[in-house]
Every structure is written in C-alpha cells, then in structure tokens.
Symmetry: C2
Subunit: 324 residues, 2 copies
C-alpha cells in the first residue's frame, strides 16, 4: 500500500479529527486559539491520529470516540512541542518561526498548559478508565523522558541505551498509546492491545531515530529546520553517539569543546557533520531505525491480512524512508 492510498482511505476520518481539534481549542481568550491555530496548522503530519484511525480500523471499531481520542493524542503532542520550544530555545519549528519567538515564552507555556488540560478534559468526558490509564500514563512518561534527556544535555558520554530509553519515553510511548487506543476502543482482547502497544513502541523509536538523523542531513527546505539544531541545543543523538564511540580522542575533544561553547557557528556544525559523515553515524542510525521497524512489523504478524494491516506496514516502511 502506498502512503497516498492510506491518506485516501483515512482522509475523511482525519478531516473529522481536524474538526474535533478546532472545536476543542476554542476559548474566549482570543490568543489561545490564535497560538494553537498557528502551531497546530503548521504542517503537523497528524501521525498519532492516523495511527489511531488505522488501529481502530484493524480491530473493527468505527465509532465517534476515535475522533476525540485522536484529538487527545494530538493535543498532548502539540502541548509538548510548545513546551519543548521553550526548553530548546528553538527559533524555528516545522519551517516557521517557533511560537515562543512570536508570542514569548509566557504564552507558549500557558497555551501548552491549556492544550494539556483540554486533552485530559476529553479523556475525562470519554470516561473509559482503561483508555484514561493508557493516555495519562503516556503523558506522564513523556514528561519524564523529556526531563531525563534534559539532564543529559551536552553530555558526550551518553550511551546508546540511555538515548534509547529517552526517546522511548519522550516519543514512542505516545505513538504506542495511539496504536493501543484503537484496540481498546474496539474492546479487543488484552493480547491484541499488547501487540499494538509493542508495535507502537518500536515504530515510535524508529520514528524518533529517523527524525534525529534528519537533523544532520536535511536541508532547511526539506525538513523545515536548520541543520544541527539538536546539536546546538546540546542534544546528543544517535548519529553523534555512534561517532563519539568510533572517533579518535582528539576528535572527541573537538565535539566536547564545541558542545560546551556558547556560540555554535555554522562552521562548527559543518565540522561536526563531517565527523559524523566520516564515521557513517547517520547510516548507523538509519540502520538501527530499520531494525526497529523490522521488530515493529513482527508484532503485526498474527493479524489477518487486511487493508488496515497493510496500511500499518506501509507506514512502518515510510517512517525510515521519509525525507521530511
């Protein structure tokens, strides 16, 4: 199945999700929908809502609750982006000026809080304790993952295992919750919920690893952000972790010194990128992402062949092949 076919099959559902999103970020405080509009309509791929639609489809649920639960996943994701930008001092997000640079940190904090609260409100209105548990626990784990990664900022000794545990928490757990939600909505047996949970974890890790490689290879036009942004923010991701493991002590010293300097120039980034290229750090990471995708797909094996199963398989392949 092609990505185009997937979008065709779930396009109408995603349109309804858009309506749910918009309906649930209205507020009489004008700046709240204004900022939310700005960030939520800035080219987000609706990856989590799409996964939720497909997993519902796979497990045989086609009811209304999909839409509000999809909105929950997108709100949690968007809130974390808004708060991330404060954390990362990001200048751009998806190719446009980051919200905190347009309205200031204060507004980003508050609108993020608003979206978190709306997400919980939607869960509470839905009223299903097992769904609430999945999604609330994802929300808490995300924050813990972000915090854990923050404590390892600028640390050249971070291991691949530590990196994996950060991205599993900060990214994969919500992706996984979106996949599991479809099964929970369909009242599928726990084994099915577990399969989709595990599928989502591996898919989410692969997604974040690929994202982290794009930070070193994509042009501004392709990825919507400048190269080496993660490095500038002190985030040591897999391509660099691999490079640091393989390079000479002198080269390691250069990376360390650059990470610690206050002003990282484009030339610095070029130097770091050359080093990563020399040790094939991006290839290593993309290979790893490919392995995670293989593992992810294994969790789908026991499902009977169907269009939604094909869609999940196609998305899995797309994750590591995408250029944006």
């Amino acid at each position: 199945m092609q990505i185009q076919n997937i979008l065709q099959r779930y396009g109408d559902d995603l349109k309804i999700v858009e309506e749910y999103l918009e309906k649930n970020y209205s507020s009489y405080i004008q700046i709240i929908p204004e900022v939310t509009d700005y960030i939520i309509n800035s080219g987000g791929k609706r990856f989590r809502p799409l996964l939720l639609m497909i997993s519902s489809d796979l497990c045989g649920y086609a009811g209304e609750r999909r839409y509000s639960m999809a909105a929950v996943t997108e709100f949690l994701h968007t809130a974390s982006l808004l708060h991330d930008d404060i954390i990362d001092h990001a200048d751009t997000r998806r190719g446009q000026t980051a919200a905190n640079n347009v309205w200031g940190n204060s507004v980003s904090v508050l609108v993020g809080d608003f979206l978190y609260s709306q997400a919980f409100k939607l869960m509470i209105e839905d009223g299903d304790p097992s769904l609430q548990k999945v999604l609330t626990s994802a929300a808490i784990t995300m924050v813990e993952g972000e915090t854990a990664q923050l404590t390892k900022c600028n640390d050249i000794n971070i291991t691949e295992e530590e990196y994996n545990s950060f991205i599993e928490r900060k990214t994969a757990v919500l992706v996984s919750a979106a996949c599991a939600t479809g099964a929970v909505l369909a009242k599928a047996p726990q084994t099915t919920v577990d399969l989709l949970t595990n599928f989502g974890i591996k898919l989410g890790i692969a997604f974040q690893v690929t994202d982290d490689t794009l930070d070193y290879v994509a042009t501004k036009e392709e990825f919507g952000k400048a190269i080496g942004m993660d490095f500038k923010e002190g985030k040591v991701t897999l391509p660099l972790i691999w490079t640091l493991k393989k390079c000479s002590p002198d080269e390691k010293g250069i990376v360390e010194k650059t990470l610690e300097s206050k002003n990282i120039s484009n030339n610095n980034i070029k130097e770091i990128t050359s080093l990563i290229n020399k040790y094939e750090g991006v290839d290593y990471a993309l290979n790893k992402a490919g392995e995670y995708i293989k593992e992810a797909k294994l969790f789908l094996e026991s499902f009977e062949d169907s269009a939604p199963k094909d869609a999940l398989l196609a998305i899995s392949d797309y994750i590591v092949e995408r250029k944006l």
Copy 2:
C-alpha cells in the same frame, strides 16, 4: 475560632495530605521530586487542601478520598506557580530563589507539566465524573485567567472589572473548587455545592486582592518577596488601578513611563508606592477585599452552626487581616 484552633483541628488531616503529596510526586527521574520538594516545601500554606478538609467536615465526609483530592488542588496550584515563575521571570518565590533561577526554565516547565499530569492522574484514579468536571474546569479556567492577565501586561487602562475577572479565573476558581469538592465528596445536594462554590469564589477573590496589596506594603521579611514585584512584571493590580483612576494626568504619565521602561529601579518602585499611598490605593483594595469577605460569609449563613462553619468564617477574616 482562632487560626491556631483550626490548624489543631485539621492538623492531622493536613499531615496525611503531605504524605499523599510526597507519594505522588515520586519519579525515577531524580530531578522531578527534587524540584517538586523544593517548591512544595517552601512555605506553601496548603490553603486549598485546608479548605477542602473543612468543607468536607462541614458536609459530613471524612473518607480517604479527601486526601488525594486535596493533593490534586495543591498540585494544580504548585504547577501553576512553577509556570508562573517562567511567565513572571520571578527571582524569588516565598522568600527563596524561584525554581526557574535554580534549575532553569526548562526544568520548571517540565516539572510543572509533571505535576499537572499527576493531578489529572489522581482525578482519573478517583473516577468520580462530577469531581473530575469541577477540578478540570478549574484547571482550564486558571490557564485562561493567567493568559488573559498576560495580554493586559503593562496596560494602565485595565479596569477594576477586568482585574476582577482575571483574579476570579486565575485564583478564585481553584479555591472555589477546593470548597466545592468537600460538598461533592459528601454527596451533598447541589444547592450546598453551589453555596460552597460561591463562598469559595468570593473568598478566592479576597485572597488574591489581599495578596496584591501585600506586594506594595510588606517588607521582604514579612512577605518573602521584594516590594513592587508585580509592578516590575507589568502586572497592574487593584491598588494601582485605583490610583490610576484618581491621580492627575501627569502622575498617570509617570506610571505609564515607568511601566514601559526596561529597568525599573528601587527608586522607581518607591515613587509608585508613594503615589499609591497618596491616593490610598492599598486601603481601597483592602476595603474591597473586606467587602468580598462579607459576601463570602453570606453564602455560609444557611449552614447550621458547627466547628467547621466557624473555621470557614475564621479563615475568611484571616484572609484580609494576614500580613503574609
């Protein structure tokens, strides 16, 4: 009833609340309980938990759920303080260095998010839809109130009505939710819930108005923060709103110019404070707070005489008389 007697009557309950708080901010990410410890044990008065205990007592509920719901109100409050400090660029909070100045904005954002999530987790675990509605709606309204006040930052034309609506949302609604929660836990009739809701709104407004006057009159030792902090942050509060209404156009010009300047000196603050004193802005605000307290007490009239009723009345008086 004296404040000492109240603390005696509810002291054991408040100790159990402390245990619930501590139990629910544990995390394997060490910095999360560390920062939470710092802010939650920095002299917070546990005003909302105390009100929740008293209103439960008033309505005849003495079960375990009080403690986790009290933790919800304190977590929501603490999260909003952490995020406020980013918004306000506060240097001190309750007399000690604000968390964002110790660990950085990033950590304050994330730990605030963690506490928000824990608050919702506790609500969801409790599982009572009517309580969830009261507390979630309070959480959303708080964020809206903060945002609304932010949009009026540095605005000398803010009216008393606008100010009232900001503080009702950002402060009074959670105070009110704490009071209402006691009635909801006791399964009291809706009229009782409404009385305590309305009592809490008026009490909460009086609380915030008094707080805002303390910013202009308390010494650093008394209130735990420097004088004129709100002014420095561009927050135009009731003592100043009154002064701006009464003063000459020249004096208004001085206030406007000072608010707009990047570096507000202690001499600037002295000048503003003198102006407020000249027009008795603090007295005006304290009188207003007194009127709100009178209105608050009216909502308690239909309750039979009892120790918890006395406690609520005593707290009401204490609110406007307190010096910290």
